[in-house]
């Protein structure tokens, strides 16, 4: 008998004639099986899992049809008290962001013990032993110290391990994992995926794993369900789905996943150097009159140069200093020492006034398209702000904005509308149009596609490549995603703790890495053995 059997589930907005957000989906999970539920944002994958846990937001969404059987018991007919009991003892859930899921003012050991207290009658000593046991099982070092730590004293990976410990301490039959590794670095992600797999084998837990990342799917799934806009598109064994998807949607989804195999560098179109960074250093904090701390060396002697019409990627995990370098180049922060030359002119030590003429030549596209446009200004106002700062008459700037919006593929008549009326991908297009309005020589893209769904990501990357082709703009592309870097960059620099550890042509660095760190990054990339766009394993 399956552990979880969702039959014909329909979830609708809780209102008269409320539209349905999930329609007639069925999912089964056998004991000890890992089932991946994949889909892009708005596909209803999280809603389905929340419905299973009985955690749909009250007054917003409700189950209108179907049944959710956990070991044969229909969750939808249970009272809130019964459901609360099942949630701890029979099924549990881990979330994307462990920092917000943990209480910041209670020690993590106590938070785990609280679960035991609420659902078992163990003595203090037994409960303590059990907490220590599970902490050991999730692979945490020095468990006595960790148990006495507060969440902020732990790293992201450690916090996610704590969440897993908390979820598994009562040995539930079903574990629902909602994007549990999305906020983590690739190397940590790999460890967490392995941990979930290992614990699952040990305890025979059924796992419902929700993700948007096809690499993760290839890594851990036994079976896959693909959802799109509230409908179940396709389901089957993981290899069947990856190798021979039957539905168009699945096929398109897989084709959008950038390949890890680097594309060859384009021939250099011009010898003109757009950006040259020499011995760049940035130290945060420290050195203050009263402070004894040494400060954080976020960028150490960083060197690279970038020719017109080429794309240089800076890759690395969080805290590697890649964003610091980007922000120094943009002079949004002041470098501690070193040189930044734009078209041969040194800008690292210019005053804000002296910098004004150069601002025009460097533009940036930010990570979060929901925050990079002022919500109170119309698209047009946002775009013409820059050109008008440099003396372009309003009418001319408006005409230019219209032209650019068309160039980035926005529908006619978007100019007078406001950012909240657009999707994430459209907003990122608008942000690119805004940057291009300045006719810059260098575009700095800081994780510019990381917040986007994979199909939208592919479109935005195509757009950037097309614009580069046309305008010979140089692009400095900051990303944590090796797949994206492999497909868009001519050269890459790999950063670790503020230092560039490897720098060269993408084909060399990602194709035949020399440095251990680059190797470990590549080894940790989920789904590295599978060539998604071609529906086959990577040719060795």
């Amino acid at each position: 008998m399956p552990v979880l059997d969702i039959r014909n589930l329909t979830v609708s907005i809780d209102a008269k004639d409320g539209a349905s957000v999930v329609r007639d989906i069925s999912i089964t999970i056998e004991p000890g099986e890992t089932v991946c539920l994949v889909g892009e944002s708005g596909s209803g994958k999280s809603v389905s899992s929340l419905a299973t846990m009985g955690l749909l937001p009250k007054g917003a969404l409700k189950v209108t049809k179907g049944e959710i059987l956990l070991d044969g018991e229909d969750m939808l007919t249970l009272s809130p008290a019964q459901l609360r009991d099942r949630r701890a003892t029979r099924m549990s859930m881990i979330f994307q962001e462990p920092m917000t899921a943990l209480n910041p003012v209670i020690k993590v050991g106590e938070q785990i013990a609280e679960v035991l207290e609420a659902h078992t009658k163990l003595s203090n000593a037994e409960s303590h032993a059990k907490v220590m046991d599970i902490l050991g099982q999730v692979g945490l070092p020095d468990i006595e110290r960790i148990a006495k730590s507060y969440p902020h004293q732990l790293s992201g990976g450690q916090r996610q391990r704590i969440m897993i410990a908390m979820a598994l301490i009562l040995e539930p039959r079903l574990l629902i994992a909602d994007e549990p590794t999305t906020a983590l670095d690739v190397t940590t992600q790999l460890q967490i995926l392995r941990l979930i797999k290992e614990l699952q084998e040990k305890h025979g837990t059924a796992v419902l794993f929700i993700t948007h990342d096809m690499g993760v799917v290839a890594e851990i799934a036994d079976r896959v369900y693909v959802m799109n806009r509230g409908d179940m598109v396709e389901s089957g064994k993981v290899m069947d789905i990856l190798a021979a998807p039957k539905m168009d949607y699945t096929r398109r989804l897989l084709s959008s996943v950038p390949s890890l195999v680097p594309r060859p560098a384009r021939p250099a179109a011009s010898a003109k150097i757009a950006l040259q960074v020499v011995e760049l250093n940035k130290v945060y904090g420290g050195g203050g009159f009263l402070s004894k701390s040494a400060g954080t060396h976020a960028a150490k002697a960083v060197n690279f140069d970038l020719k017109a019409g080429r794309t240089l990627g800076i890759v690395g995990e969080s805290g590697s200093g890649k964003s610091t370098v980007a922000r120094c180049v943009m002079r949004l922060i002041d470098p501690s020492s070193g040189g930044i030359r734009v078209g041969g002119q040194e800008i690292a030590d210019l005053t804000p006034r002296g910098l004004h003429p150069f601002r025009k030549r460097l533009q940036m596209v930010f990570q979060d398209p929901y925050r990079s446009l002022n919500p109170r200004l119309s698209i047009e106002e946002s775009i013409i702000e820059g050109p008008m700062n440099y003396g372009m008459p309003r009418a001319e700037a408006v005409a230019k904005a219209d032209e650019l919006l068309e160039l980035v593929g926005m529908p006619a008549g978007s100019a007078k509308r406001y950012p909240h009326m657009f999707s994430g991908g459209q907003r990122q297009r608008i942000a690119i149009a805004r940057a291009l309005a300045m006719e810059p020589e260098l575009l700095v893209a800081d994780e510019a596609v990381s917040a986007l769904d994979v199909s939208v990501q592919a479109q935005v990357l195509d757009l950037l490549a097309e614009i580069q082709e046309r305008t010979q703009i140089a692009i400095l592309f900051i990303t944590h995603d090796l797949r994206v870097a492999a497909q868009i960059c001519d050269e890459v620099a790999v950063m670790k703790r503020g230092e560039v550890v490897e720098y060269g042509l993408t084909a060399d660095v990602l194709g035949a890495p020399q440095h251990d760190y680059t190797k470990s990054l590549l080894a940790a990339a989920p789904g590295r053995d599978w060539d998604f766009p071609n529906f086959r394993p990577v040719a060795a």
Binding site: L332, R359, F366, L373, S382, E385, G386, N389, A431, R434
Partner: protein
Amino acid sequence: MAEKTMRGAFPLSTRAIFAKIGIAPLLAALVLTLIILAAVFAPFVAPHDPIYQNPIMRLKPPSADYLLGTDNYGRDLLSRVIWGARVSLVIGIGVTILAVVLGLAIGLVSGFFRVADAIIMRIMDGLMAMPSVLLAIAIVSLMGASIWTVMAAITIPEIPRVVRLVRSIVLSAREEPYVEAAISMGTSLPRVLWRHLMPNTFAPLTVQATYVCASAILTEAILSFLGAGVSTETPTWGNIMAEARIYFRLKPELIFWPGLALSMCILSINLLGDWARDVLDPRMGKREA
């Protein structure tokens, strides 16, 4: 959120409006409107001259001619309370405008420029360390009492609260990517402040303004009551209560009526402020009982 309320606002029946806004803010708006109308049209509404002394009519009980009775100089209490609303409202509104405008300007500068911030916030800390009434009394006694000095004296202690609010909003908003985008597009700093940062402060400032207004009216009454406010010839709620203090055992209503007007006025403003906060801040608004 705002969109929803806008769309829903027009086809509502009277009952639906009551259900949507709630009875308390509507009553508050009604009371406040009455007080404002009475203050604006005081010369026509008040049945008597508020400062005309009639020794024969001293301390009379309520009658048809003197609805609330008379005070120790034979002046009509009702007329004095109505005229008193003028001073209270002028002070309340004046202080609010001054405190918000000055606080907004100082807060924007403080939130955006680190060097200025260190200096400004220390001054604000110093101001906040002094009890506002004490500070106001000190300022009035230095400059002499008039409606203008009283207004200034009440404004100065109110400014730090506005500055802190604006500064905290600017501190978080300046980290927004759209602000950085504006900087990298070469927008000048004053313009970044004006166009990208200041609009973020409007909603919280509206709420804060109501509290400043209520607090200013109360402080003015305290100053008058203590004899440090507007001169005793002008009828204000605080002055009326101060004069009536010695007759409290004999005629407690002399204190009761201006006191009632004062507390109703402040309660109404605070209720409207709470309502504005619920409407303007979606996070608070969603918290239903």
